[in-house]
Point group: C2
Chain length 414, copies 2
């Protein structure tokens, strides 16, 4: 299949492009390389030394024999170039990662909030308008987030996108209706993925576009078999307070002898997925595009496990001996929540989940140790505060080095 | 109170600014005057000859003794000027009309779709970010639309913003939860108002902003007591296929001897409100800002009646003798729907609805006749097609001059 990967230079996009190429697909990467410029802005680059796009493409061609296309293009800023490209290529599928993807970065300042909304909404809307205009048969596969469901403790497992609810009609009789699961985004970043959902629903209904929205958990891990084939293919690894996701951040902290920084009680339960499962899920989504219902967005939950943050810290600590410190939570969120979610659809398509083991954790710590001299310690703490009350709380709260209470894993993927 | 009216040069914004000023509020209009430039784009100006902003302000000062502030500023394009203005003025309330408001205009072309999303989402998000940064105590009053609820026939009266639904928990026991009413926007314009709802919910929760979202019906009528005080204060009147709302369009058609153009069967039921009630509802919303719950957006339905389009055509026809012609519907929507909605909150605040009467209709037709020589007949038909199948249907469907079937009013405001 001909597949265009928007955002194909990023942490998930790059290994996805290689995985699809390795599976025989004809892949073109479209990226404006903004993530590399944000490295410069934050002064905290990838832990791993990533090659330039030209080096990456040459290396992949050398080791695999497969060419990768590459177009430097800002999907949010250059609608006309995007439309021409889609009209020329008429890809079977477009995988859309071209969005600012870090919650803390989205909350750093008014400028970061505005950039995240402008970039993400405009990118998604441009893709939809362009597809409706010049390539309505293309299957759009979008990376959403489990965060659109929110992190309140809810009475039932999170379904995949839709929820059947009941409410009384005029005569008081119960009537049922299927709705998009009510969204409760916890950051401006998550908010943009909630906005995306409404855009997809509209263009699927009005223009018959074929859309799959993948609500992904937090990604951990770094390398895939493809990115490991040559040092020039190495994937990026973010450890900083803005882009470093929680488990990858713990692993780097363990590698450099920094205490594991747990936000608040660490009682937050989150959904996770290994990067190797991410790329496989996207392949499964792309290759099953012919199973879509007309006019209805296919929503699939892309996670394999849920973990409580304090449990993850405990696992990493017991595997590595790292200390744990509890710091004030910069995020405005509940201290504790339960979370369990369905992932039947991707399992049904053949996903065989990679579950978290001490061996895998230690392999990641090993990778982090290899590049430990590249870590800028001052970039590790998360200092993007959700609002003034969180900023004030952080200024007046001492770090707590006592051990967090153990707890059972809350919920899980089913 | 100090009130800033964003979009205060437009069809609803201008009479709202005057109404608030007449009630003793200190009003500043903020507008980029884009609606006047769209008149040039479409070659179909206001039926009524509207004065320049400077003439309008001078006239109001003369007749009322009250100065109106005016700042020419693009809320979507100039965040920094907006922030400075809000920091300087710290208004008690901001009334936000600064959005592209026509469904057909939003569906004309890829460029119009993109303009509507970019302008409306960015304008609303800029206002929210700016308020959170420099004036978090300001009450934001936003003009939404009844169209966010969608026009499917639903089993119960439309509530005001929120819906309590039930679904089974893990053990199969029914659990209740209040959610934002599931949105089903029927155009890109309506879509942007659905997106706005999620923006408001997030900033109310995360930053404690005080927000009222008014889901307005279709506005009919033109003048208010204030806009009638001097010819230079006259309000705009849109009759064209893009900006002319259905009843105002029928009234102009009747005035110039054009058959009343009913889309499809005319079985669509819509919510309506007179322009004089619009401005009064906004005053009631502004003046009741101290009743808001913390962290929860107040949503009020701003309508007074619902009518079936074919019934409206019948009313105008019997009052004026105008013929009726049914043309292919350019919109992708159901041929027929029932609609009834609650409006308890604005009634509770003191709204005394102006109901549709033949006298009021004839007064509007009289106004339209006065300016009939300004009508460009070719601008009347709605030719913005929602998608290819609607375009094709229009190309192959003959206008039907037989009388539409009479029907009972479906639903109503309760």
């Amino acid at each position: 299949m001909r597949v265009m990967v928007l955002g194909g230079d990023g942490f998930c996009g790059w290994p996805t492009a290689l995985h699809l190429s390795a599976h025989g697909h004809d892949v073109t990467i479209v990226d404006n390389l903004v993530r590399r410029r944000i490295d410069d802005e934050l002064g905290a680059g990838s832990l791993t030394p990533i090659a330039t796009p030209a080096e990456r493409l040459a290396a992949w061609h050398e080791v695999s024999g497969n060419p990768l296309g590459f177009v430097e293009l800002d999907v949010a800023a250059d609608y006309h170039a995007l439309t021409e490209l889609l009209a020329d290529e008429r890809p079977d599928a477009v995988v859309h990662f071209a969005e600012q993807r870090a919650a803390p970065y989205s909350m750093k300042s008014p400028a970061h909030k505005r950039y995240t909304v402008d970039n993400n909404v405009t990118a998604t809307h441009n893709v939809l308008v362009a597809l409706a205009a010049v390539s309505p048969g293309t299957h759009l596969v979008h990376l959403g987030t489990m965060g659109v469901y929110g992190y309140e403790s809810v009475p039932a497992d999170l379904p995949e996108g839709y929820l059947t609810v009941t409410y009384p009609d005029r005569e008081g009789r119960p009537r049922s209706r299927e709705i998009l699961y009510p969204t409760r985004p916890g950051s401006v970043y998550h908010l943009t993925k909630s906005l995306d959902q409404l855009l997809f629903a509209f263009y699927a209904r009005n223009d018959g576009l074929h859309v799959t929205d993948l609500h992904q958990g937090i990604v951990w891990g770094t390398q895939t078999p493809q990115t490991g084939r040559d040092p020039r293919l190495i994937n990026r690894f973010d450890y900083d307070g803005d882009f470093g996701t929680v488990l990858n951040r713990f692993l780097v902290e363990a590698a450099i002898g920094h205490p594991l920084t747990v936000h608040g009680t660490g009682g937050q339960t989150r959904a996770f997925i290994n990067i190797n499962d991410t790329v496989e899920c996207i392949r499964l989504a792309v290759e099953s595009g012919d199973r879509l219902d007309d006019g209805r967005v296919r929503v699939m939950n892309q996670l394999t496990q849920t973990h409580r943050v304090s449990d993850l810290a405990g696992l990493v600590s017991s595997a590595t001996g790292a200390a744990i410190v509890r710091v004030a939570n910069p995020r405005d969120e509940a201290d504790e929540n339960a979370l369990a979610a369905r992932n039947d659809q991707l399992l049904g398509l053949g996903l065989d989940p990679i579950l978290l083991t001490e061996d895998l954790l230690l392999a990641e710590v090993g990778l982090a140790r290899r590049y430990a001299d590249r870590v800028r310690r001052s970039a590790i703490p998360a200092v993007s505060y959700w609002n003034d009350s969180r900023r004030t709380a952080a200024a007046t709260t001492e770090p707590d080095h006592s051990a967090p209470a153990a707890s059972d894993i809350a919920g899980g993927a089913r």
